[in-house]
Amino acid sequence: MTLPPTGSESATVTPPALSVRDLRMGYGTRVLLDNASFDVQRGEIVVILGGSGCGKSSLMKNIIGLYQPMAGDILIAGRSIVKARGQEKAQLQRKLGVMYQSGALFGSLNVLENVRFPLDQFTELSLADKNLTARMLLHQVEMAYAEALMPGELSGGMLKRAGIARAMALGCDILALDEPSAGLDPITAANLDRTILSLRKNLGFTFVVVTHELQSIFTIADRAIMLDPVSRSIIARGKPAELRDHSTDPRVRQFFNREPDRRKQTGTR
């Protein structure tokens, strides 16, 4: 978090937190998304959405440098994660906190040790300091009561929340969350949304969130980017409420209004 709040002058010279330029990505020869470009500004919450199989999670994995795109570039704070290699790439990846769909906690460590893991690896802090930081992170995601449990003993929602706490441990520039509220009960999902908004407000984190939970999208997103598996492109971008109410694209309206496909409606026999 920058103190005091930055003036508009400095904001214009800093590059966007994330910049995706003319990206083409997919698996083997199969293209999932082509010619995609968008920026995510610092402190912004952008959701990537679209139906199942449209490449949301794959786009996320390209952004965090796990997959190499077929063409185009991805810049983290102005530096290309696509062209970076070795130490440089590792440094860029450390700017990103990632929460995977399943939480991806390490099975041999308990919850507190999982959250402390990045601090153990990359900082010189004393054990007491690391433990306090990890406990405070767990408080943020309302998981303090579970600090001594092993990942095998946690529910899906708990795994995700602990995963978020671990992703934040190194004070990353961008938090990438893959389906954070999928499969959570409404109260936990709402709490998670509140946590995301509070982190953005108070610590100035930038969020890239992959989700198709409509309620969550309307609550947290500054902007939405919608992918389409048929045209393999970004078909909409903007504020979720505006897209729902004013989009001219029937696919976008259908998504936001949660309408079934017409062709799947069968008549009476």
Partner: protein, 362 residues
């Protein structure tokens, strides 16, 4: 940075405090507090530029301390949004010590291990009984056993294991012939090396070595496959379809293993004996002499014993692998534990069973 000015001590937090820079700042601040136990300390946060969650933890750690009257810590000019964040935490929530993992003494460890082994032996017996019932039913009713699955497993565990079994079997024959040959040569009894190679390969080593290779290759694979299916709740899905995981997952593997381990043993016998024959050439025993001596040295009983042992070993390895797979807990670690345990348990059981056969058939 710290300063001592007259009656009050001060800690100055300035610049960027992040996970990567916080360690010395934190240590210096705590040192200042420790050096001034009775003086008030002022934490000056006016020159802070940037903090992350570690910086928040540092500020919280300084102000949460319980100090005597007149020696309190005051924080100056903390930005309002940071103050909101820090005040969101209640110091009382962080006083409990971190629970370390319980350490157990040697006797408790011994007791637990014994109890585990007893429980495992019971589970294994129960499992084998269920398998026996399943097999009996399978042969009485059609359609219980999925033969396509049996042949798939047999192909993977059997046919694909041929190269390694051939290699190991051949080398076993070579080694035995060479070692016994060198000793026998001193007594002019080289021709009897053939008897040694023949009996050793057919009665013992063919089946034994095949079983050990099979335990490492396929027993471990059974445990890992079924264990992963258990972790992914596929086993639950099978159960809720009204199918028995024993019929569905275990029986095909048991049958396939009972089928292929004897076949692989025969292969190991043949190449092992051939390996011995190749070595005997260097001791001036021709293939023809070797063959004639071999016919006199071994019986059909030796050969059949090897095959029967192979079937028992196959059954044992598959049963251990499947039982461990179905007994897998949650997470990737338990799959690894099941796999390791399968290989170790299988090899121990193979050797024990082999010893049993040696006593019974001698």
């Amino acid at each position: 940075m710290t300063q001592d000015a007259g009656h009050t001590a001060s800690v100055i937090l300035q610049g960027r405090i992040t996970a990567h820079t916080a360690a010395p700042i934190w240590k210096a601040a705590l040192d200042t507090l420790a050096r001034n136990p009775t003086r008030p300390v002022i934490v000056d946060a006016s020159r802070l530029e940037y903090v992350d969650d570690v910086g928040i933890a540092l500020i919280f750690d300084l102000i949460r301390r319980d100090r005597p009257q007149g020696a309190q810590i005051k924080i100056h000019e903390l930005a309002p949004n940071l103050a909101t964040l820090v005040q969101a935490y209640d110091p009382k929530d962080f006083v409990q010590p971190i629970r370390s993992r319980p350490r157990i003494g040697i006797f408790e460890h011994l007791g637990r291990a014994t109890a585990q082994q007893v429980a495992y032996a019971r589970r294994m017996l129960g499992f084998l009984a269920r398998c026996a019932v399943g097999l009996a039913q399978a042969f009485r009713r059609r359609g219980v056993i999925r033969w396509s699955e049996v042949f798939d497993v047999a192909t993977e565990a059997g046919a694909n294991a041929v190269p390694i079994v051939v290699l190991v079997g051949f080398l076993m024959g070579v080694i035995i012939a060479f070692e016994i040959g060198l000793v026998a040569q001193q007594f002019g009894a080289v021709i009897y090396v053939v008897n040694g190679v023949g009996v050793a390969m057919l009665r013992e080593l063919g089946a034994l070595m095949t079983a050990i290779v099979f335990a490492g290759r396929s027993g471990a694979a059974f445990a890992a496959q079924i264990g992963t299916q258990k972790v992914n709740e596929e086993v639950n899905a099978i159960s809720t379809f009204g199918l028995d995981p024993i019929d569905f997952l275990v029986l095909p593997r048991l049958l396939a293993s009972m089928l292929v381990v004897p076949l692989l043993s025969v292969l190991a016998d043949i190449v092992g004996v051939f390996g011995g024959a190749v070595v005997m050439l260097t001791f001036d025993i021709s293939f023809l002499q070797f063959y004639q001596q071999l016919l006199g040295a071994i019986t059909a009983g030796d050969f059949l014993l090897g095959i029967f042992k192979g079937a028992v070993f196959g059954l044992t390895i598959a049963a251990v692998g499947c039982e461990r797979g179905l007994g897998t807990g949650a997470g990737a670690i338990s799959v690894g534990l099941s796999t390791t345990s399968t290989v170790v348990t299988s090899i121990v059981l193979i050797v024990v069973i082999d010893g049993f056969f040696a006593v019974v058939t001698s």
